[in-house]
Symmetry: C2
Subunit: 242 residues, 2 copies
C-alpha cells in the first residue's frame, strides 16, 4: 500500500513542507519558525518498510524519531527469544525521547510493523534545544508526563483487568475520539493479531478465543481485520458476565 515511488530513502523534502510536518507534533509545536527551520535542516525523512528494525535494546540512541504514517512496535526481548510488546506507536507518535534525554542506550527494540514514514532528528540538535530553549524543555516535560500516565494506565490494566476486559479496553481505545454515537462504530486492528495479543499480555490463541467469545456475546462483529462494536455501553461497563 505504500511503496509509491517517492523520494529515495533519505531525500529531503522541500524545507517548508518539512517545517510544517515538524510543527504538527505537539512536542515541537512550541518552537519558533527559526528553530523549526534549524531542526528541518538536520531532519531526514524516509520511509521504512514493514519488518525494518529502527533500533534494538542496548543500541545507543542516535536521535528522535517522529512517526508520520504506519506503525512501530516497541518490545522487550525475553529470556527465551520471545518478545513482549510494550507499546504500539502510530502516526503522530515519537520514539527515543527518554534514552536521548537520559543519555542512555535504548531499553526497547523498535520494529516497523506497518509500512511507515518517519522523520529522524539527530541527537545533537535536540540536545541543543534542550540546552537553550525553555519552551522546548517544558514541552518535552509535558510530553514525558503524558507518556508516564499512559504507561501507568497500561500497568494498571495489566494488573486489574482480565483478558476479556483488556481486549474490550483495547478495542474501545482504538475508537476515534469524537465519533457519532449513533452509528455503529468500527475499528480496524492496526497490525496482525499476534502483535496485539502480546501488547495485551495474551497469547495469540487466547486472544483469538476472546474475540470469538465477544462475538458470541453479541458485543462485536468481526469481518477480517475490521471489527464493529455492537454495544459500546455494555462493553465499557462489563464485557463479562458475573
Amino acid at each position: 500500500m505504500d511503496a509509491q515511488g517517492m523520494e529515495s530513502p533519505s531525500a529531503s523534502v522541500a524545507a517548508p513542507a518539512m517545517e510544517d510536518m515538524l510543527a504538527g507534533f505537539a512536542l515541537l509545536a512550541v518552537l519558533t519558525r527559526e528553530d523549526l527551520q534549524r531542526l528541518a535542516r538536520g531532519a531526514v525523512h524516509h520511509s521504512a518498510p514493514c519488518g525494518q528494525i529502527l533500533f534494538r535494546q542496548g543500541d545507543s540512541c542516535s536521535g528522535l524519531r517522529l512517526i508520520l504514517k504506519g506503525r512501530v512496535k516497541l518490545s522487550v526481548d525475553t529470556v527465551r527469544g520471545e518478545e513482549k510488546v510494550i507499546a504500539l506507536i502510530g502516526a503522530g507518535g515519537s520514539l527515543g525521547e527518554v534514552p536521548l534525554l537520559l543519555g542512555q542506550p535504548h531499553r526497547l527494540t523498535a520494529e516497523v510493523v506497518a509500512d511507515a514514514s518517519i522523520i529522524e532528528l539527530g541527537a545533537q540538535i535536540i540536545l541543543e534545544q534542550i540546552a537553550q530553549n525553555v519552551h522546548f524543555v517544558r514541552s518535552a516535560l509535558r510530553d514525558v508526563c503524558l507518556r508516564l500516565v499512559e504507561r501507568t494506565r497500561d500497568l494498571e490494566n495489566c494488573m486489574v483487568l482480565n483478558g476479556r476486559q483488556r481486549v474490550a479496553d483495547f478495542l474501545l481505545s482504538q475508537l476515534p475520539a469524537g465519533v457519532a454515537p449513533a452509528a455503529l462504530p468500527a475499528v480496524t486492528l492496526p497490525v496482525k493479531n499476534s502483535i496485539i495479543a502480546s501488547r495485551l499480555n495474551l497469547t495469540q490463541e487466547h486472544f483469538s478465543r476472546i474475540l470469538h467469545e465477544l462475538q458470541v456475546a453479541g458485543l462485536i462483529e468481526v469481518r477480517g481485520r475490521q471489527i464493529r462494536l455492537l454495544d459500546v455501553a455494555r462493553m465499557r461497563y462489563s464485557p463479562h458476565e458475573d
Copy 2:
C-alpha cells in the same frame, strides 16, 4: 521564619535546615540558594502517621510532597473495593509531580504505610519555578524520565516474570546499592506482606507460599520481617528450576 513555637500538624523547622533538606532531593538540587529559600518559606514539614491518606484518586493536586522518612503507598482502587499497589515510595522520593505539571487531578491514592515525615510544597510556588527556572524544568524532565523508565520496568516485570521471579527481583531491588559482596546481604521488608504482595501483583497467600519455597530452596532465610539472601547469584540468575 520560624521559631514560631510548636504548631501541631505543621511545625516548621529552622529555615536553613529546611533549605538543606530540600537541597537533598535530586529534583531540587539544581536550585540556587535563593530559590531554595523561596521554596523553604512556603514549605510545610509535618509528620504523617501510618494510615493517613495524603490524597485520593480524583482529588485535585495541592502541590508537591517530598518524603523524608517512612513509606507511602500509591494505589488504584479496583471495581470491587480492593486496591492494587502501583508503587511504594520511600525516603528521598516525591509525590504529585505529574498531576501538578499536567494540571490534572490525582490518578492514584496515596496512603502512609510506615510513619512518615513529609515536606509539602504548594502548587503555586512549584509552578512559578516551572515558569521561570530553566534549571528546574530540566531537572523535572530528568526526574519524570527516570520515573517513566522505572514504570516501564515494572510493566515488563509484570508481563514477563512469574511470581517467584518477581519476588526475587523485588528482594534484590531492596538491597542497598553498593554493599560488601562477601557478607550475606539482608533486606527488611518495608511494610506488611499484603502490601508488598499487591505491589508484586500477587495475593498475600501466594506471596507467603513463594517466600516459603525460596526458603526451602535455600535461597533465603526469613526471620520475621528480616530476610537474608543466601545466594544472590542464583537468585538473580534463576530463582526457579527449569
